[in-house]
Amino acid sequence: MSNLTNRFFSRNPYFLSLVLLVIMVVINRALQDNLFEIGPLNGNLRVFTPAILLAIGQTFVIIAGGVDLSIGSIVSMGTAILATQIPTDATPDMIVRAVVLVFLAGLLAGSLNGFGVTALRLQPIVTTYATSFIFAGVALRILPEPGGRLPRELTTFWRNPLQVTESFAIPTSIIAIAIVILLWVLLTKTRYRQFLYATGSKADAAYSTGVRVNRIKFSTYLFSAFFATLAALALTLGSGTGNPRAGDQMTLPSVVAVVLGGTALSGGQGGIIGSIIGALILGLISNIISFASLDSWVRPLVDALIIIIALAIPALVGLARRAWNK
């Protein structure tokens, strides 16, 4: 790729994903007239939220040069715990205990991943692929079949938009995501941010500078597990019930969302904003496909095509430039 395009993309890593997001919104709007009304908006974003949270967690791991293939199973485990520990007539005490429990379980799972990658020096892909079966198994042990019903007050709080004034409401999930972004911005001003990118960019150089590379890597798996648990919470509150297989298909989309958002799989670059955009794009794609009432066998095909094209755009732009220069 030429120097100029290179520089443009390195200064505006979100540019392509933003363009793609706008295209998806326009198509979606054409198919669904009321897309921007508060009801559908709130509903859509609520559905997208677990995927967004997973993409955020995955970003930490990928920036540090790893990948976490177990987060889908951590979601399954989380929903199983929440659905069994919070019965319909739960007292506030029980709810608090269940939430503490689910986060403890998530962080334990993240620690197991971190232990495998740092202490045992296993490949991240191997480690987290293996542990994903452990967590999936735990989920099925806790809740063998979909079931459970959360208290209505809890779910309605999450499902309904926050009414600011009588005529103005904000989708609850936007508030949740905004809080996460705020925390991320704060985090990027700490030393941890420097260590995170240094570890992913060139771990041995970081080590020789005194960065505790293993601790940083370990911490990223805690982050991904933490966000997976948040995703489990969002998912369970959204559906009001538990499904021990809920996270089965959620892991790989999180990786795709991160890459769509401009974070390189080789590590050392990117950030969560791009991943959020990436997750939104994926959500809109599945929306569009369902609205376009395509045959069911066409869906995965279209899904895959759009993703491949999106991922190939930077390379295609470079190719076009080279052909132009010749």
Partner: protein, 501 residues
């Protein structure tokens, strides 16, 4: 405030798997002193410095700081004791900026947050130490990946300084700096001495050692073999300590008549983006030198012959006109090129020595590959080149610089080339490995290989070649041989002042 430190390393031992990198490392340095650490590649200099900086832990032996034994398990522990290092393999993070790299791990903080304004200011203050000696784009916010090697080296030096150390190790810190930048660094070293810092200076450049060092410690084969006071020694003595039976580059030229041997390579009016019409002939059994300042078209010439870059003009090999459009064709015609940048062009670092050596010649071992013959052939070449290695199956990354370079050459020797193109092959390797390399060149020449040899080291051209073509601005500015082949003529032709065609 005057800093104060003494550091002693005693009988340090480090082994990697089956290879002993350091068998008896000793050194002592104190405040206000520059200690030069010398030795051939693979003699254990880097290993000993890494033990001192806590990057690796020794298997045996001890390190004393201010008389107390210490054991650093991580670089940050050594840094707390006031020891900082400028590494040979740079410790910079490509995706982070200059200031982020310099302050990584000790960023100035405000309310627990990184104080970027302060960091920027302090970085600028450090950069001012090299004011005027780098391009203006070297700013505190520039990403490391956008910098040239010399600028990265400067950042690496500033980074080591940012820790305000009591002892600093400069491991080949001058290798990619130009003379002005080196002068500036040496002024800084003089300042540091005055402040009471101790400096360990690792370098291959004798001239620099005699300029700034007070003492020298010499390592050979992982062992400290001598300490000298610089004022009371000379180059000869130090080189003798570094390599047994030195016999460096005494005149190895041999007067012989090449015109009776067949012509191997003829080039007529070769042009590329850089070359402006070059003609030459190389006979079998001739070692033809290419001289001149860096970047006058020498690399282009070799690459064009090898078919790696596009060119116009006539090239004929043994009288047959050929124009290689791809290195593969050149290889099949018995041409080999040893590249200048071994690390990036010549080696697959994580693969085994065996695989690297065979990479260029698998096709001659049939399908399925005749593994036994391949192994015995590469074993023979390895022995011929006296390679120091754990086994043929060890990864190339486990080798020292000199030995890694032998793998690149061995790779081409396995193909028994008829025409060997050498692109500054001894750049950055030590005298010991060079001496072996010269012997190898002579052997190849005597066995009838035609060799085209570009070197940035005039001594090599004067010592080894019967005939040297000097390139200037893409043209041959002089063809020197016999009595004309002298240092004076070589230097003036490099400047483009002599035309004797």
């Amino acid at each position: 405030m005057v800093k104060n430190i003494t550091l002693v390393a005693e009988q340090a031992v480090k082994t990697y798997g089956g290879v002993t990198a350091l068998s008896d490392g000793n050194l002592a340095v104190k405040s206000g002193e520059v200690l030069a650490l010398l030795g051939a590649n693979g003699s254990g200099k880097s290993t000993l410095s890494k033990i001192i900086t806590g990057l690796i832990s020794p298997n045996k032996g001890r390190v004393l700081v201010d008389g107390r034994p210490v054991s650093f398990n991580t670089p940050s522990e050594a840094r707390k004791a006031g020891i900082s290092a400028v590494y040979q393999e740079l410790s910079l993070i490509p995706d982070l900026s200059v200031s982020e790299n310099i302050w990584l791990g000790h960023e100035p903080l405000r309310f627990g947050m990184v104080n970027r304004g302060e960091m920027h200011k302090r970085t600028q203050a450090l950069l001012d130490l090299f004011k005027g000696l780098y391009r203006p784009h070297l700013q505190p916010d520039a990403p490391i990946s956008s910098l040239t090697p010399d600028e990265r080296q400067i950042v690496e030096i500033l980074k080591a300084m940012s820790f305000d150390p009591r002892l600093i190790i400069l491991d080949e810190a001058t290798a990619s700096l130009d003379s002005q930048q080196v002068n500036r660094l040496f002024e800084l070293v003089a300042d540091w001495k005055a402040q009471g810092m101790a400096i360990i200076f690792v370098s291959h450049r004798m001239e620099e050692i005699f300029r700034i060092a007070d003492k020298a410690t010499v390592l050979r084969n992982g062992r400290t073999v001598g300490d000298r006071v610089i004022a009371a020694t000379n180059r000869r003595e130090l080189v003798d300590l570094m390599i047994e039976g030195a016999g460096l580059l005494e005149q190895q030229r041999q007067a012989f008549e090449v015109s009776d041997k067949p012509v191997r390579l003829t080039i007529d009016d070769l042009k590329t983006n850089v070359l402006r019409g070059v003609s030459l002939t190389v006979h079998d059994g001739e070692l033809l030198g290419l001289g001149g300042l860096h970047g006058q078209g020498q690399s282009d010439l070799l690459m064009a012959i090898f078919g790696a870059i596009k060119s116009s003009g006539r090239i004929s090999l043994s009288g047959e006109e050929l124009h290689f459009s791809h290195p593969k064709n050149a290889m099949n015609a018995g041409v080999a090129l040893v590249p200048g940048d071994r690390g990036s062009e010549g080696l697959l670092l994580i693969r085994s020595i065996f695989e690297n050596m065979l990479l260029a010649s698998w096709s001659s071992y049939g399908t399925p590959i005749g593994m036994r013959k391949a192994r015995s052939d590469s074993q023979n070449v390895a022995q011929e080149l006296k390679m120091v290695m754990a086994s043929l199956d060890a990864p190339v990354s486990s080798l020292s610089g000199g030995n890694a370079q032998k793998v690149v050459i061995g790779k081409w020797l396995l193909r028994a080339p008829k025409l060997l193109l050498l692109n500054d092959p001894t750049k950055g390797i030590d005298v010991g490995a060079k001496a072996e390399f010269y012997n190898l060149l002579k052997q190849l020449r005597d066995s009838g290989t035609a060799i085209l040899f570009y070197s940035s080291d005039d001594d090599e051209l004067l010592g080894l070649c019967n005939r040297v073509l000097v390139l200037h601005d893409g043209q041959v500015s002089a063809a020197l041989s016999g009595d004309d082949l002298s240092r004076d003529k070589l230097v003036s032709a490099s400047m483009g002042t002599v035309h004797s065609e």
